[in-house]
Each structure stands twice: as C-alpha cells, then as structure tokens.
C-alpha cells in the first residue's frame, strides 16, 4: 500500500549511465549546466574510513598547485541542518521522510554551492555524495527505482573514490572514534534490542549496498585499511592523471611556467 512505485524505467534515474559532470537524468530544467569549467570529485565510504582526513590533505595539495577548491558534505545546508538534527533527535522520521529530508538538503547544496562552484571553475570535493543516500535507503528497503529517480536531478561526479574497509575494521574504528549512535546503528530498523548486534548488522548491510554500487556507478575502489599517506598518494596519483587530461582545468603553476 505504501511504496507503490510506478516502476519507471531505471535508466531515467541516477545510475551508472550518467555522463560524468552531467545531470543523471531529468536534472533541474531551469538550471542549465552546459560547459562549466569546474570538476566534481566525490569521496565515498562508510564511517571510519578517514574521508575527512583525506579531503583535508587533498585540498592542501590542490591549492598549493593553484586550484580553487570547495568542500561540501552531506547534511550541511543552512536550510535543512536544523530540521534534520531535530527530526533525528525526536525519532519521528520514517524511511520515506528520512530519504526526502536528505534529498532536500542535497538539492539545496547542489543549487547554491556545488553548481555555482563548478561554473566558477572550482574543484568541488564532496565528503560523501548521493551514494550515501542510496546505500542508507537500500538498507531500509526503499524502492531502488524510486530513489534513483529521486536523485535523477543530481550531477554525476567526474570521479568517485570509494574508500573501502572490511566489517571488522569498520566496527572497531567507529567504536574507537565516536561510538554508536541510534541512526548509525540502524536502530530505526528494529533489528533487535542489542545495540551492538543491530549496529553490526546495519554496517554489514551498508557495506553490501556500497559493494553493489561499486559496479553500478564505476567507483574507483581504494583499500582504506592502508596508512593515511599511502592512501593519499594513491588519490593524488589518480586525480593528477585525471586533471592532466586535455579538457581539465590547468593549474596556475603550469600557466606561470608556460
């Protein structure tokens, strides 16, 4: 009765068929994004993979070369942050409103931060991207075609790095850092009263969702159990190769030399 999807064709939503840098699907009709100079790079992964550390280091490295860099995250928009915090605290969210609040937040950041930055020639480093939403929704049993259509207004990143860790490492890292919370333990899924078991089952399901998306969206998968600097070197190598492509933005350093 509730999730009666009309089952629209999957190719009309956010999926691996999206061209890098373009809208996945219907996009935002009133906001044209043709031929902008910026680049969108997403760093995806569960908690505890060190995304923010890697992004800080990448930003430094890119700025030294003269690239303009803007960071964006998940649930940080001015419009929605208070509402999402409030909704989470009061546990009145259900899976549909959960998904829709995050999509609203993303739309706000996309229109007000990401697209203007791309048009102005910035490299946008996104700490998590729509894949986080797709994974969380997938675990909660939200209709796959429906959520992909919902995010059809998004832009397919030029690069998506997926920082992957195994379940055991993930659990230890989260426990060490900030501990389990209600949502990250999937307690809304009522998997059981034991918060640790619920947390483990939830994180395992999340890893599975990410793994299935790695193929669907051609993630560049990196082993995040390695040392911070080793992982950073790998990220830099791949990003440098991408930026060196003919249509990439040229760094100030090369311009000065040339």
């Amino acid at each position: 009765m509730t999730i009666a999807s009309t089952n629209p064709p999957e190719e009309s939503g956010a999926n691996g068929g999206g061209k890098p840098g373009q809208y996945y699907s219907y996009g935002i009709p009133y906001l044209s994004i043709a031929n902008y100079p910026g680049k969108l790079i997403a760093i995806e992964g569960t908690d505890g993979v060190g995304r923010s550390t890697q992004i800080t280091l990448l930003r430094e490295w890119l700025e030294v070369q003269g690239y303009g860099v803007i960071e964006t995250g998940w649930t940080r928009s001015e419009l929605m942050s208070p509402t999402i915090d409030l909704a989470k605290a009061s546990n009145t969210l259900n899976k549909l409103t959960f998904v829709l609040l995050y999509a609203t937040d993303f739309a706000d950041r996309l229109e007000k931060e990401i697209i203007p930055a791309l048009k102005a020639g910035f490299i946008v480093l996104s700490d998590r991207y729509i894949f986080t939403a797709l994974a969380r929704a997938g675990v909660r049993g939200v209709d796959r075609a429906w959520i992909r259509n919902l995010y059809g207004f998004g832009i397919a990143p030029h690069l998506v790095f997926y920082l992957r860790i195994d379940e055991k490492t993930l659990i230890r890292r989260v426990l060490q850092s900030r501990g389990m919370d209600y949502w990250e333990s999937g307690m809304d899924l009522k998997l059981g009263d034991d918060i640790y078991e619920s947390f483990r089952a939830y994180q395992r399901a999340l890893l599975k969702e990410y793994a299935s998306m790695a193929d669907e969206f051609s993630f560049r998968v990196l082993d995040a159990r390695r040392k911070v600097d080793v992982l950073q070197d790998e990220l830099r190598r791949q990003i440098a190769a991408f930026l060196a492509e003919p249509d990439g933005p040229s760094p100030l350093a090369t311009k000065a030399e040339g």
């Binding site: 935002i28 208070p82 549909l96 609040l101 209709d143």
Partner: protein
Amino acid sequence: MEGIDGSGKTTQLALLAKWLKAAGHPVFQTEWNSSALVKAATKTGKKKNALTPMTFSLLHATDFADRLLYNIIPPLKAGMIVLADRYTYTAFARDTARGVDRRWVRELYSFAVKPDLAVYFRVPIDTSVDRLMARRVKLKFYEAGLDMGWSAQPLESFRIFQGKVLDEYDRLVDEFGLSVVNAIGSITDQQRVFRRLVSQHLEIEHHDDRIDESA
C-alpha cells in the same frame, strides 16, 4: 480537493465534512503542508525567500510523506473518510509551473495512495483574484510566484503564476481523471454537485453492506 487559491475549495470541504459527519460517517481531515516535521525548514526558507523550485518541491513531498504515513493511511485503515485539502496534484501543478521536470515530480510522488475521488474546483483567474481581493487577502510571496521573478508586482505575479498552474491542472484533469466542479457557481450549487460526486462512492459501500446483511 484541488484548486488554486480563491477557488473556494476550503469552504466546500468544510460543508462536505459537516454533511458527512451529520450522516454518521467518520471523517478525518488533512491539509497540504501542515506537518510539524518540515515546518521549521519551510518557515526559514520562506522567511529568507531561500527556497528554490526544487527545494520547495522536495519539502512539500517530505511533508506529504509524513502526513501520508501518520494522517492518511492510519485513518484509511480504520475505515474513515479522509478529506485532503490539496493532494499530489497540487505538487504536479505548482512544481511544474515553477519549472521542475513534469515526469520527475510524478515519479517523486509515486509512493502516494491513489485517492478514490479527486475533485478539482476550477475557476478562471479573474474570479480567484476577485475573491481574494474581496477578503483583503495579502498575497504571499510563494503563493504569488514572486520567487520566479516574472513580475515584481504581487498581483500581476499571482496572475501569471496561477495562470500557469491552471494550465497544468487542465492537463491533470485528463491525465488522472479528476472530477471537475465549475467553481464560479453559487456555494450551494457547487456543494450540491460535490455531494453528488461523493455520494456515488459512498453508495457503493452502502450497497455492499446491504448484500452482506441479506447473505
């Protein structure tokens, strides 16, 4: 119940609810954009005029999802008649008039329950404006479509925006088989038509009951 501002649908809905309750039907009313969940964000967004057509659309979908699960499905399961002052068609008409993709917004709301009856109160834009002016209603920023920048003058903007909304509603009448009530007639005449439409759906139930009793 669908229709633009000034179509008189809220008046009609109140009269219908009275009639249903008097006849002993359990009635539950729900209103567009009324959930507590998104109130804060909508208020902030509206106050700062910070909503884009996309975030406007998504916030209303969030409100709808919340009301669907708390205020629409439970009363339906309990056998009540749910009267919705605006439903998904409002989103289809308004969001599309604002430039959101027509297909996308339909797919967005595909989780909704299809209503047993959808009634559209159709008025010409002039009638709507006359009614709102007679009540000295102050046209609100988003309702007047001032966010679109088509005109800085509220009344002119309202005419342009609601004109587009009316065009979208006309498209929806065919696409979704909305029942149209000519909303320029007298309140009593409209209510008569409205009650006749509704009673067609209730009679089927009564008829079934009778069969059950005789069986």
